[in-house]
């Protein structure tokens, strides 16, 4: 899967798991913040999205790790996290 395809898939996952049916994947910008200012997601969304990513990609996200904030910053950073866990 190319990174472009993966990003689109992540956007669709965000829409499906967080009940954002009113949004289309195109409206979620790759590098814009997902939380607070950008898409306006909250802490419960973070937990829900973490669970969806674990289910889909088998990537376990440590809720207490400082890195997690970085990984959840944007679609681009989530994509990088998932790619780094793919078997080489």
């Amino acid at each position: 899967m190319t990174h472009t395809e993966l990003r689109l898939e992540i956007k669709q996952l965000i829409i499906d798991s967080l009940d954002l049916e009113d949004l289309s994947p195109e409206e979620i910008i790759d590098d814009e913040p997902l939380f607070n200012d950008g898409l306006g997601l909250d802490s419960i969304d973070a937990l829900e999205l973490g669970l969806a990513i674990k289910k889909r990609y088998g990537v376990k996200i440590d809720a207490n790790s400082e890195d997690t904030k970085q990984h959840f910053a944007s679609v681009t950073s989530l994509c990088a996290l998932i790619v780094s866990h793919e078997p080489a």
């Binding site: 967080l18 009940d19 954002l20 009113d22 306006g40 419960i44 969304d45 937990l47 829900e48 669970l51 674990k54 289910k55």
Partner: protein, 261 residues
């Protein structure tokens, strides 16, 4: 307030209206009501009932929450302007569709949805309504089987009699049981919500479209398994010109009567 505590309050608070020892009676004014049930859902879109909410507020609302909050939002807000009011929320099963999804996840040893879990408590909808409206009002959440209407009205009557508030908003909401629980159904299965603004009949500040008395019958007559839910029967009767309505639940029978104005 816990429903189990109400019978004790009855003896202290409601004696002024007691005829016989086992005869409970109280009077209430219904200043406004909004009722929606399965027969209108489809004709009235749930999303139209909550159109005044922001997209971010609507996002996590289940059909159950939309019914409850939708009914509340369609009450005449002018009645509550500059008034002290409190809220009574009553539901037999709560958001049972959400609960049963969570139970299914547990049974399959899957992780629980955090947002589903966060909204799984009985008073979650009432809490969300309070947040959306920015109203820090005392809220009672009641689950009293088929008798939810009587429990809610008793609570409303006690609150109004305490003279702390002029109005009590009551909302009753339930949904048809989820597929796998349908065979436990002991009444007609419908989705509905009934919201009302109640006040003391002696309060002359506002006109009262309905003034009613509620009397608990000494004799209990059991309801049948195909009777509609009590709040549905009550809401439909309210729109008629009939003087009297008999209602029976699992343990109690009540008579509702219109008071001559």
């Amino acid at each position: 307030m816990n429903w189990l505590r109400i019978p004790r309050l009855e003896t202290f608070k409601l004696t002024e209206h007691v005829y016989g020892k086992s005869h409970m009676r109280f009077e209430l004014a219904v200043d406004d009501s909004f009722f929606i049930s399965s027969t209108q859902i489809g004709k009235i879109e749930l999303k139209d009932l909550i159109s005044t909410l922001k997209p971010i507020q609507k996002r996590r609302l289940s059909n159950f929450s939309k019914l409850a909050i939708g009914a509340l939002l369609n009450l005449d807000e002018r009645l509550l302007e500059d008034e002290d009011w409190e809220l009574v929320f009553a539901s037999r099963h709560g958001d049972f569709h959400k609960t049963s999804e969570l139970l299914t996840s547990l049974a399959n040893k899957e992780s629980l949805s955090p947002s589903g879990f966060s909204l799984s408590v009985h008073n979650a909808v009432a809490g969300m309504y309070s947040i959306f409206m920015q109203k820090k009002v005392p809220i009672t959440s009641i689950a009293a089987g088929k008798e939810g209407l009587f429990a809610a009205l008793t609570d409303a009557y006690i609150r109004l009699s305490s003279k702390h508030v002029n109005k009590v908003v009551v909302v009753l909401v339930d949904q048809s049981l989820p597929e796998q629980f349908q065979h436990y159904g002991d009444e007609q299965q419908n989705d509905y919500a009934l919201a009302m603004v109640l006040s003391n009949i002696e309060d002359t500040h506002t006109p009262h479209p309905h003034t009613l008395s509620f009397t608990r019958d000494v004799q209990f007559t059991a309801s049948s398994a195909d009777s509609p839910a009590i709040p549905i029967e009550f809401a439909k009767w309210l729109e008629t010109s009939q003087d009297q309505l008999h209602l029976s639940g699992q343990k109690q029978s009540w008579t509702v009567e219109r008071l001559s104005s």
